[in-house]
Amino acid sequence: MNASNSQYEIILQNLLADHADGLLKGVVSTTALLTRYGLTGDLYVKNLIHIAEQIQMAMPEVEPSEAFVAALYAQLVGEHDHNMFDRLMAWRLERLRHLSPHMQLLGGLTLTAGIYWIVTRGRGVNIQSVVKAAGDLLPTLSSSERSA
């Protein structure tokens, strides 16, 4: 790379950095920026700027499901809160629905074994919420198995 190429590259890097900063603050004027850097006729730079703007539009923040967030919190903190337990079960069951029927059956058995383990350890889990969650599981498994 010769000196002028190197200089062009540095100018380009600074322009793109300024553009990205302005884009994220919502105060970018592409024309003013190109003028300031003396690159108004540079189609390549304009294309890079367009790509950056498209990336920003294509990547909005997404929200994790509340059930997942609550379930993982319960798992990490180990709070034996009945509502948390219900949400944990709801999330686990929701995840089961995405699996193949065989994997659902395996998952269901594992889940049941887990529930049995929790209940028999007598850690204050509300047995009614366990029974309710297990009841919710049955239609999911049976309908999948019937269609398989």
Partner: protein, 213 residues
């Protein structure tokens, strides 16, 4: 890890991050507060890296489980806690790709279309297709470049903050950003995609509609 080391009346929600980190090794609720502050950000990281909510949930869970198991090893020497989490996340993505030997390309989510619902249907379809190509192209980038794009556009971090996470200088991040856009440009051009034209057309139609209103 115990739950009884927190000071009486300790307000986790308003605590400084450094206080929470110091407590977290012995206090699950302190770790829980850190989790609540960062779960969405880590989830977003995985969502845009992996392209599916299921993978994002699995990997997000692994990050926090791993972080909780190793929080005693976290040493705050000017590196933010978030940088530590992102490094764990980065390693998990690398392992995931190595173990699964796959690189999925997902269909575009509904929100992309919703962003420009007010535009004409033909432009909407073309725009959506091009954003699909763009996201697919981003997922073909090397790991560190994908990370850079995420930290800049979703996390909205400065080059200096990105540098702290990626262990590089601000100048190196600037250079990497330029090379990343350049790679995307070459990749999209090779596929016959011209982003500038569609973006200009969308803007033009919006201007016309605004003037007519």
């Amino acid at each position: 890890m115990k739950n009884d080391t927190r000071p009486p009346d300790f307000d986790y929600a308003s605590a400084e991050e450094s206080e929470l980190v110091a407590l977290a090794a012995e206090d699950k609720l302190a770790f829980g507060e850190l989790y609540q502050r960062y779960v969405k950000r880590i989830y977003n990281y995985f969502y845009y890296r992996m392209g599916s909510h299921e993978d994002a949930e699995d990997l997000t869970a692994r990050v926090f489980i791993r972080a909780m198991a190793h929080i005693e090893n976290y040493d705050d020497r000017g590196v933010p806690f978030s940088a530590w989490l992102y490094r764990i996340a980065h390693n998990l993505v690398a392992n995931w790709h190595r173990d699964n030997d796959r690189h999925k390309v997902i269909p575009l989510d509904e929100f992309l279309a919703n962003k420009i619902l007010t535009d004409a249907p033909d432009i909407l379809t073309e725009h959506k297709e091009e954003q699909e190509f763009l996201l697919a192209s981003i997922r073909r980038l090397p790991e560190e470049r994908q990370q850079l794009i995420f930290l800049k556009f979703v996390e909205r971090m400065s080059n200096q903050e990105i540098g702290e996470i990626m262990n590089r200088t601000e100048g190196a991040i600037k250079s990497l950003y330029h090379r990343t856009l350049s790679t995307l440009h070459d990749d999209l051009t090779a596929k016959g995609i011209s982003f500038g034209r569609v973006a200009e057309e969308v803007k033009r139609k919006r201007r016309v509609r605004k003037n007519n209103a």
